[in-house]
């Protein structure tokens, strides 16, 4: 096998037509072996990842509905219908609002929790576990607990707010407050995960940097944070932003359990609309078109992640 790695100029110096033929044959054999070895993984990838994706894209150009035996090619009809669909606009804007609140909210609170817990001398593990609990719990189950807590008649949250003079309402059933409440639950859920990422990032900052800053004359916690902690956490922060954004785009569980997109489509989000169109109304082809739109968003985020994380925010 070593011969294959010969440098090109060396090959040229020694080669006759016969040796060149032998070399290219050997090269072909090696390449063939490589493809053979990669084949099982390629097969699975095609079956499980690329195949379904392709199927969704193809379906979005048809009039297929779940259970039908046949389908017709409809071109861009589904996408055209989307442009006239008020619920689609509503779900896009709701999704963006949700992402726009949950990402900064869970990022700042996660960072705050990480800094506070790191500054403790005792009980770090305990607090870390407490904040991480919502991440480990099944969100569907937790959503049911939230439903009880938000109940107007006996939920702890409306009852407590009533004591403070607010009307005892189920805030999840009010058009104006339903989405913000879902955002709060989203923040509560992803805060712990972000916190753990930030804690890992914090532990990677060399102590001597803080000592150097101290000797350079920077002594306040504020200066330490802005001069060292925040810039040194930039790679982690970028990662947290992208991961939380992708997860927030996929919000479904809480919507499904708590509001079903209501009231009045106030909490209709992209994935829930896909679910409704596909499995409540059996308009599979329209759901497929919505899915393509969703995939475009995720794809953009992934590209941003690949570009920035790999190129910009590393200092080494």
């Amino acid at each position: 096998m070593a011969d294959i790695t010969l440098s090109p100029d060396r090959l040229q110096r020694t080669q006759t037509p016969a040796t060149r033929r032998r070399a290219s044959l050997r090269n072909f054999k090696a390449q063939g072996l490589a493809w053979m070895l990669a084949l099982p993984a390629l097969f699975l990838m095609a079956m499980l990842l690329l195949g379904p994706l392709l199927a969704v894209v193809v379906l979005s150009f048809t009039d297929y509905s779940l259970g039908n035996a046949s389908l017709d090619w409809r071109g861009l009809d589904n996408y055209q219908a989307m442009l006239g669909d008020d619920i689609f606009y509503k779900s896009i804007s709701n999704t963006l609002v949700y992402v726009g609140i949950v990402v900064p909210g869970s990022l700042l609170l996660g960072l705050g929790a990480a800094l506070l817990i790191e500054s403790l001398t005792r009980g770090k593990a305990f607090w870390r576990a407490v904040y991480f609990l919502p991440v480990m719990a099944t969100l569907i189950a937790m959503a049911i607990v939230w439903e009880f807590m938000m109940s107007a008649r006996f939920g702890i949250i409306p009852q407590t707010l009533a004591l403070l003079g607010f009307p005892a309402k189920n805030w999840l059933q009010e058009t104006a407050t339903a989405l913000p409440v879902l955002c709060i639950i989203g923040i509560w859920q992803s805060l712990g995960f972000n916190m753990v990422l930030f804690m890992a990032g914090l532990s990677g900052i060399p102590r001597t940097l803080y000592e150097a800053l101290e000797l350079d004359g920077g002594s306040s916690a504020w200066t330490r944070f802005w001069t060292i902690t925040w810039p040194m956490l930039a790679p982690v922060t970028m990662f947290v932003v992208i991961i939380t954004a992708i997860r927030s785009f996929q919000v479904f569980d809480t919507v499904h359990v708590l509001t079903k997109g209501g009231p009045n489509n106030a909490t209709m989000v992209l994935i829930y609309q896909i679910y409704q169109e596909g499995f409540d109304f059996f308009r599979s082809s329209y759901a497929a078109a919505l899915t393509v739109v969703f995939l475009v968003f995720i794809f953009i985020l992934t590209v941003i992640k690949a570009r920035t994380i790999e190129n910009k925010v590393h200092y080494s």
Binding site: A212, E214, P231
Partner: protein, 388 residues
Amino acid sequence: MAEVQIRNVSKRFGTTTVLENASLTISKGEFVSLIGPSGCGKSTLLRIISGLEVQDTGQIVIGDRTVDDLRPSARNLAMVFQSYALYPHLNVASNIAMPLRMQRLNGFQRLPVIGRFLPGSATANDGIARQVRDAAEMLDISHLLERKPGQLSGGQRQRVAVGRALVRDPAAFLLDEPLSNLDAKLRVHMRTEIAQLHRRLKATFIYVTHDQVEAMTMSDRIAVMMDGDIIQVGTPDEVYDQPVDIRVAEFIGSPKINVVPVDIEAARGMAVLAGAASGVVTDPSAVSLGIRPEAITVSSSSGLAAGIVEHAENLGSEEYVQVRLDALPEIVITARAGHGTGWTRRIGSAAHVSFDGNRALAFDSAGRRVACRAYAPRHVGGKAVANG
């Protein structure tokens, strides 16, 4: 710059005593090295001076001010760390500017974009930029000012770290093994540069190292530390020629000093080495003699003690010959032989060693230095004296 006094400083980590009642005064403008094996407390002492570590007892006085209740940032000391501790997200210019920015700009003026437009910050920033350029020029790193530390070589990073220290006018420079991460060649070069820098700045330097060559070549005075104690303070010559303790003698000097056990002959106080009178008269408490390799003569024909050449190293300018003594097989004597003496070709052959009695050092059973002198004023080959 200022004088730095360490007064009776002790420090314990849990049950381990790291420093025991250490005292040392470093004069204004002096270059003092703290040297010792790892774990001797030298870095801890430096960190206590800087304020990064707090002593259990004792005082640190800088200039005429006791600084024990001051934060590190208020002590006006500059430190070069072993890891350099450069800010990886800032370019070289910003790294060097950091102490000046902390000194001259308030929190609002340091804000990223808005800070520049606040009153007073333009003038301050101009002054800082000028000083950064001057420091960079002095260290020959002007062409690197826009780079990030990650794009620099070890030696360049080291210069930036020094630049960050010297850009302001600190009371003293603290250097914590600053050369230990460099390759051997660069280390020799930077040694010269730091010594020259000290001469030019005439500032107080406190330099921690475990490398005795660095300490010997750069310092005005050396403080040798062992097990949390400063056991000797002196000029490089004093520490090398007149060590007060066998540990100092063994730590300073390369190759290591030869230590041979001796018996003391009662009548004349003559030290007896491997059965032969050594030609050195010592205090009766002496149990061993220390002889530097350059004070030993190795000869193929005659000498004080016979042995076999076990190994020889040719360094070009000189050769080091290791001779295992016939009478004391556990002792290998290292001798320095001149250029081109060809001992490397005579490994395994017989040889004789003798030494200059005037340069022998005697130590008692506790390792303390005791008196000794050559028996006869002339250079002696041992046997003649013993017979005479």
